[in-house]
Symmetry: C2
Subunit: 549 residues, 2 copies
Amino acid sequence: MVAAPLHDRRPSPINDRYSASSHFLNQPAWAVQLANLCWIYDNNKITIEGATSLAFSEDVRARFAGYGWAVRHVSDANDLAALGASFDAFRAETERPTLIVVDSIIGYGSPNKAGTHSAHGEPLGVEEVEATKRFYGWPENETFLVPPEVADHVGGGMRERGGGLRRDWEALIAGYVAEYPEQAEQLNHMQRRTLPEGWDADIPGFPADAKGVAGRDANGKVLNAVARRVPWLVGGSADLAPSNKSRMTFDGAGDFSAADRAGRNLHFGVREHAAAAVANGLALSKLRAYQAGFLIFSDFQRGALRLSALMELPLIHVYTHDSIGVGEDGPTHQPIEHLASIRAMPGMIDIRPGDANEVAEAWRALMPIRHEPVALMLSRQPLPTLDRERYASAAGVARGAYVLADPPSGAPEVILIATGSEVAMTVDAYERLIADGIRARVVSMPSMKLFDEQPRSYRDEVLPPSIMARVSVEKGSTFGWDRWVGPTGAIIGMSTFGASAPLKVLQAKFGFTVENIVATARTQLGLEHEANPPGVTLETSESAETLAQ
Amino acid sequence: MVAAPLHDRRPSPINDRYSASSHFLNQPAWAVQLANLCWIYDNNKITIEGATSLAFSEDVRARFAGYGWAVRHVSDANDLAALGASFDAFRAETERPTLIVVDSIIGYGSPNKAGTHSAHGEPLGVEEVEATKRFYGWPENETFLVPPEVADHVGGGMRERGGGLRRDWEALIAGYVAEYPEQAEQLNHMQRRTLPEGWDADIPGFPADAKGVAGRDANGKVLNAVARRVPWLVGGSADLAPSNKSRMTFDGAGDFSAADRAGRNLHFGVREHAAAAVANGLALSKLRAYQAGFLIFSDFQRGALRLSALMELPLIHVYTHDSIGVGEDGPTHQPIEHLASIRAMPGMIDIRPGDANEVAEAWRALMPIRHEPVALMLSRQPLPTLDRERYASAAGVARGAYVLADPPSGAPEVILIATGSEVAMTVDAYERLIADGIRARVVSMPSMKLFDEQPRSYRDEVLPPSIMARVSVEKGSTFGWDRWVGPTGAIIGMSTFGASAPLKVLQAKFGFTVENIVATARTQLGLEHEANPPGVTLETSESAETLAQ
C-alpha cells in the first residue's frame, strides 16, 4: 500500500534497562528481521538496590546472540569513535536487528558518586555538583549555562540541516501524491484517523437464530468485512488466532513476515505483552491496529493496555473467552475481575456485545473512534441471535445501553440489565415475567463507559430513577454494578472465582439461569416465588451476601 | 532456622512453553545458584497458530547458557537412556540450575497428525486414535484400558517404595523434633500458618503528629517489628526496597544469596512478575512471604497476583506510591484504576491505611489471615498521624471501615467516607463542617473487602441507610464507589489519568482539598456554599459528570 521511500530506514535507539521487556519484544523483532531496529544497552551495572550483581548475572550479549540479533560491544561510553563504528555497522546490517552493549559509568565525572546507586536515585547535592563541574572543566558557579557554541550549533548547522531535510521530505510527499493519488489518500486517512467512504458497507446483518453464533465467530466475520475496506487495518494474536477467530482470511490479507512486508496478519507468538505493546507502536505509526487474545490473558498486558489509553490510541483489543462460559478450562482460564479492571481504567472503552448483531454494531461504533482504545469482550460459546423485529435494534450499542424489550403495555415495574452472553437468558426471563403479567424491561448494556457518556436525559430514559426494582446479570465480578442497580437492586454476578465444569453446570451453580433471574425479579417486586435453585444465594447490593460456593 | 535434611534436593521438572515466564524466572534462580532446580523444555516446535518458526527463532540453549544455566540437550524424547543421563548430570550439578532441552514430536504415534498443530488444539478423532493405537501395538477397541502391569507396578513397587519413604520421613521428623524442639515448633506454626505468642508485641504505636509519617515509612517500621518475632517471614522487592522501605534491617535479617541461604531479604531485580511469582512459591512452601513494589507496577504482576488469590495463599503484597500523590513522576507512575482492579479480584483483601496507626492495625489484622492474600496500599508522601484520643481507635481497621469521628451531639446528617491518604484532609473538612454547625460523620474505610464481610448490623451502624447525604474521598478511580455513597451521594475521585505536578497542584486540580470536600458535603445537604475551586467539577453518582481536565 505504501511506497518504501516514505518510510525510510532510521536508527531507533532505545535505552532499555528493563530486561523483561527486552525479552518480550526482541523475539518478534528478530523473527521478522527488523534490520532497521537498534537497541542501545546502557550497561552501567547499577540498579536502585545496588550493583546489578545482586540479582543479575547474565551474559546479555550471549542472550541476544541466542535471539539471533547482531550484537556489538562498546567498552567505554566515552569512546565516540567506537560508538560511531557501531552505528555504522548497524546501518550496514540488512537482515537482523542490532544490540549495542555500551559499558558506562553512572554519574560519570562525579568524584564521589560515579558508579554507585546513589547516582541513580538521589540528587548529587551542591558540593558534588561543583566537584563534578570541576572534573569536566565547566564553570563551577554558573547554573543553566548554555555556552555560545551550543547556540551556534543549533542555530546554524542543525537548523539548516533540518530545514533542508524538511524541504526534501515535502518534495518527496508532493511527488508521491502526484504519482500515487489513491495511496496518498489512504495515507491522509491514516494521518487524520478517518475512514474511507463505504468502510462499513460489507458489515453483515445476522438473521434471528435460536442456536446462534459465538461472539468470537461473529467478530471474525465483521472484522473481515471491515478490514477488506480499510487496507491499513492490521493486527494479530499471541498464538490464539485459530481460537479467537481474529484472522483476516480474505485474498491478499497475507501474513506479515521477513518475506512479506505487506502481510496484514501478525503472529506474535506466545507473547501477550508484546502483542499489545507492538500494537501500540502500530497505532502510533497511524495504522489502525488490533490485537486479539483471551480476556484472561489481558492480565499479562495491563502495562501496554494502560499505555494505549494514556497515549489516547484508538487501538482495538479483541478479547474472546470472556467469562466462566469457557467451562471445563476452569478458574485459571475464567476471567472474573477483568471486566471491572477494564472499566475502571480511564479512557478505555468497554464493549461486551450480547449477540452477533451487537458485534456488528460494536464495530460501527468503534471504528470512527480516534482517541480511545476499545476492549471488545466476546464469548467463546454460541449466543442466540435475537429477533430484532421482536426486540429493539442493535444500533443502540452506540449509546452504551438501550431498552431492548419493554412490557406490551404500561410502564415497566422492574428492570433487568444484562451484558454479553447473559442478554439472551435475560430476554428469556423477561418473556416468562411478561407471561406472568409482570411488567419487565430488559436493558442491554454492552458498554458502561459509552452509557456513562450519554446525556442525563437519555440515561434516565433507559433507567428511570423511579424504578428501583432492578436486577443485573453478568458473568463477571459484582464490583461496580451498584451504580446501575442502586442500593436496593440485585446483582447476579461473580464474587468468587469460577470452577471447572460444563457451562450448564456452572450456570446453575452460580445462578445464571432463567429461573433465578425470574425469581430475583419477583423478589425485587416483593412477590412470592419458587425457592432459589439449590446452592445459590443472591448477592444483593443491600445485603451483600456472597454467592454460596 | 530449618535444618537442611528436611528440605532435601529434588528435581523440579517444569514443562515450560511460555518463553516469557522462562525469562522472568530464570534470572533470580541463577543469581542465587539454585542448583536443585531443573527445567525440562519440551521442544516440539509447535504452537497453536502453527510451527514455532512463525514467530520464534531463538537458540534457546544459547539463551540459557547466557543466563548462566547448565544446559543439556536430548535430541529424542523417546531416548530414555539419554534422558536418564541428563537427569543424572542435573543431580550432580551443584552450582547452577539446569535446563534440559528435549526435542520431541507432538502427537507422537499419530500417523497423520504427529508434529502438526492440530495435535495441540484438537481431539485426534476416532479413526486417528485407532491408527495411533495400532502404531503403539495397543488393543484398538479397548477404551480406558489399564493393563494389569500398570496396576501391579502401582500396587507393588510404587506403593511399597512410597511407604518406605514415608516411614523414613516420619522418622526424620521425629528425630528433628527431639533434637530441635524450638525449630520444630516454628515448623509447626509454618505448617498450620499460625503465629508465635507475642508476635505483635513490638508493633509500635504512633503519637499524634500533624507532620506525620509516610505510609511506606510506617510500614517499614511495623514490618520490622513483626518480622523480628516471626522468623519465617521473608520477602523483598523488585529493585525498590530503598524507596518502598520494605527492607528488614534488624541484626541477622541478612540478604538471601548463593552465599547466605539464611538471609531473609530477597533481591528480585527489576522483575515485578517474578517477585510475585516467587513469593507465591515461598507461600506454598509455608513461609510467610511478602513482596513489595509501587502500586503502579502491580500491572506487571496481575497473573501472579491472581494466582495468590486463587491458590488461597496468605501472601502480603506491599504496594507503596499508591496514588497521584507521587506528584511529579506523572501519569505513568500514578495508579488510578489499580485500587478498583484489586478490589474486584475474588479473595484478594484490599487495605489502604489512613495513617501510621492504621498501618500498625493493618498488620495486626492481616498477619492472622491464613487463606487470603492482602494488598496493602501505602502512600509515598507523609500522612498526619491522627490524635486517637480525639478520634476513634485505629483498631477499627480490622472491620474494614469504622466511625472515626461523629458530631459532638445529635445524629449525623452527612457522612464523609475516606481511605488512605485522604483520611486526614477529610477529618479537616469534618472539623470545618462541625464548626459551621453541620453534623458530619467521618468513616475511615481502609478495606472495602473486610467491611463487606461484616454483618449487616455493623455495616448499617457505620453507614446508616437513612443517611443518604454522603461524600467519598479517594485518589483512585471512582469505579465501585457507588456501592458506598448510594445513588445520590458524591464521589470525589479520579475519572481521568493523573498529571505531572507537585502534589498540592494536583490536589487542587482534581478536587482533593478540604474546601472541595466541605463544599460537596454542603451540596449534599442542599446548603449554599462557595463556588467549587476553579477547574473542578464534581463527579456525583447521580449526574456522572466527569472531572474537568
